[in-house]
């Protein structure tokens, strides 16, 4: 247990450092974007003096490190700030731009609370699809390494990585939703709206899992203890589950940890195309509208998710393979 505690403390400390670097970098980059947020909030009709005053009240004229420390202090109290643009009701605060009060705008925490579960639902379903596609193919290809199915899997994988995700999303929306009217997409009015976006993300992710599963099963199969297990008279099923699959699981898990960041990119573009109300859509809108607090919140959350998942991956890896030591 002592080992576990030191491991956790070390990794968490590293994680906090990473999150700090990321948030500071994003914070600074956003402050360099042309266009004054105060002007954006108040609209083109407000006088320069009012804009200047609001900017000072919001702390937008302080040096960047000061603003960052201030923001960080608020974050530690669970306050990620208030959106510049989004109204509490959910829609854009179109008519409310002339009021200097920020009271009618949604808090970033509320926006994240609305959209994060949606994105998690999408990501979870996408993972299920990705595993449904890649695990059977990866296992069969790995067990028959060099055979015709292995070759087929290589071509299939190459074809899948070559499909541009946004193009697939458009084609599926056109064919499956608009023409055939099988599965609804575009927007969100129920669980079925998750299926097509999740499928697109799954197609993007599965080749990586497929390839790593195939190669790690193929190499686990050639290890001495597998040949020996056969001599020991263990059942094929037991050899496969305990000796081959278990050894092949660790590299796949690690790939998964590394892929989280890339997956977020996929989620973002797919949500944007399907108009799916998750973190991705929130981010794209926030960036296009220069809604700094929201972008910062999203960057912070996604960096945290990345760090936590990678710690979990390493923990599970040591469970599966006790020889691994961190």
């Amino acid at each position: 247990m002592a080992f576990l505690a030191t491991f956790l403390i070390r990794r968490l400390a590293q994680g906090v450092l990473i999150v700090l670097i990321v948030s500071f970098a994003i914070f600074t980059a956003l402050r360099l974007v042309p266009g004054d947020p105060a002007r954006l909030i108040l609209g083109p009709m407000a006088s320069d003096a009012v804009v200047e005053q609001t900017a000072r009240e919001m702390g937008l004229r302080d040096p960047i490190p000061v603003q960052y420390v201030h923001w960080l202090g608020q974050v530690l109290q669970g306050n990620l700030g208030t959106s510049f643009i989004k109204a509490k009701s959910g829609g854009e605060a179109a008519g409310g731009r002339d009021t200097s009060a920020l009271g009618d705008k949604a808090t970033v925490v509320a926006l994240l609370e609305q959209s994060l579960p949606m994105t998690l639902q999408l990501a979870a379903l996408a993972l299920v699809f990705a595993f449904l596609i890649s695990v059977p193919i990866g296992i069969v290809a790995g067990m028959n390494s060099g055979g015709w199915f292995d070759r087929f899997a290589v071509y299939l994988g190459s074809a899948f990585v070559s499909i541009p995700n946004f193009w697939l999303a458009i084609v599926l929306a056109l064919v499956v939703t608009a023409e055939l009217q099988w599965i609804p997409s575009i927007g969100y009015q129920g669980f079925s709206y998750t299926i097509l976006p999740a499928f697109v993300i799954a197609i993007e992710m599965s080749p990586i899992f497929m390839r790593s599963l195939t190669s790690s099963i193929a190499s686990a199969k050639q290890r001495n203890f597998v040949a020996l297990a056969d001599v020991r008279g263990l059942s094929k099923r037991r050899i496969f589950l305990r000796h081959i699959l278990r050894n092949a699981a660790v590299p796949v898990l690690n790939i998964f940890g590394v892929q989280i960041g890339a997956m977020l990119g996929g989620v973002l573009i797919v949500e944007y195309i399907f108009n799916y109300p998750g973190i991705g859509l929130l981010t794209v809108q926030a960036v296009l509208e220069r809604d700094f607090p929201v972008i910062q919140g999203v960057a912070l959350i996604s960096a945290c998710i990345f760090v936590v998942i990678n710690i979990l991956v390493d923990l599970i890896s040591t469970k599966i393979d006790p020889r691994l030591d961190f």
Partner: protein, 305 residues
């Protein structure tokens, strides 16, 4: 290939003539059918992108009001002058896709070269020196990996007007941490090898050891696999163009062609789908070539060939 692997693995170093790993990887690569198929696709498509625009009278940007929404040539109502049909402004989609391919290739190949060089430098320094340099460089690398690149990309490209150069740099930014990690881990292993310790004792400078001894040994196998990243970067470039922060119109890119065609999807589906299919075939060519190189490299590195 797999049935005789056991036999060859037992006696790995019987070859008398020394052959560089690069040549062995090359020989193992071009035996694969996958590689030939991918190369064929690439030669045809890239060849067309380099040659066709110089020989056609069509223009990728000039509008022809009378020729709007022509379907592809293989459909009823199509004309052979417009192989993939025309778009909402009467421009030839085949030619626009080819120009888009030229731009995408130039941007993604330069991005991969930049990210490889940066990643290699960071990885070599971190792996060779270790200690505080290693810690600092690797934490920066981790931080870069933890930011969803697309958020960073959108942020940067709204600051700077998207140009081929800024898009290239943004793409390079997304990829260097991967190379830094791999190069660092192989450098760590290489540092312990006898020739490096020997060179240190003989008084070779660190720069000399890194560039003249370690780099030639560790970088080529990694560089081969960079081919796969060209395809990834082409998709990324297309995504940026699609959101509207890639290279700006009127320069055709896969992203902006597909985005423009989206509003005519129901009546003129080919505007978005045909350039996308074109992009898919190009990516398939790159990925087939890249994965056969990767496979050959793994066989060589594991001593199976």
């Amino acid at each position: 290939m797999p049935s005789d692997t056991v036999a060859t693995a037992v006696a790995p170093r019987v070859r008398v003539r020394m052959e560089t790993p690069g040549r062995r990887i090359w020989r193992a690569t071009h035996r694969q059918f996958e590689f030939k198929l991918g190369l064929f696709l690439l030669v045809v498509l890239v060849g067309a992108a380099l040659i066709y625009p110089h020989f056609t009278k069509l223009s990728p940007t000039r509008m022809h009001i009378m020729q709007r929404f022509w379907p592809p040539a293989f459909l009823p109502g199509g004309h052979w002058t417009h192989l993939l049909g025309t778009d909402q402004l009467g421009r030839d989609l085949f030619l626009r896709s080819l120009i888009g391919l030229q731009n995408a290739l130039m941007i993604s190949v330069s991005a991969v070269i930049i990210m490889f060089v940066v990643g290699a430098i960071v990885g070599l320094l971190a792996g060779f020196y270790g200690g505080i340099i290693d810690t600092v460089l690797m934490r920066i690398t981790d931080a870069q990996l933890a930011v969803p690149v697309i958020i960073l990309a959108i942020t940067i490209l709204t600051v700077h007007r998207p140009s081929p150069e800024s898009v290239t740099l943004v793409l390079a930014l997304s990829g260097w941490p991967g190379y830094a990690r791999v190069v660092r881990s192989v450098t760590l292993a290489e540092r312990q090898r006898e020739y490096v310790r020997g060179a240190k004792i003989l008084g070779a400078s660190p720069i000399r050891i890194m560039l003249q001894m370690i780099a030639p040994n560790v970088l080529p196998p990694i560089a081969f696999v960079a081919v796969l990243d060209i395809a990834r970067m082409m998709i990324f470039e297309a995504i940026l163009g699609f959101i509207g922060i890639g290279v700006q119109p009127p320069t055709p890119t896969f992203g902006n062609i597909i985005a423009d065609g989206r509003q005519y999807l129901i009546n003129a589906w080919w505007i978005s789908t045909m350039p996308g299919a074109f992009l898919f075939l190009t990516l398939l060519g790159i990925n087939l070539v890249g994965s056969s190189i990767e496979r050959a490299r793994n066989q060589v590195l594991e001593g199976r060939i």
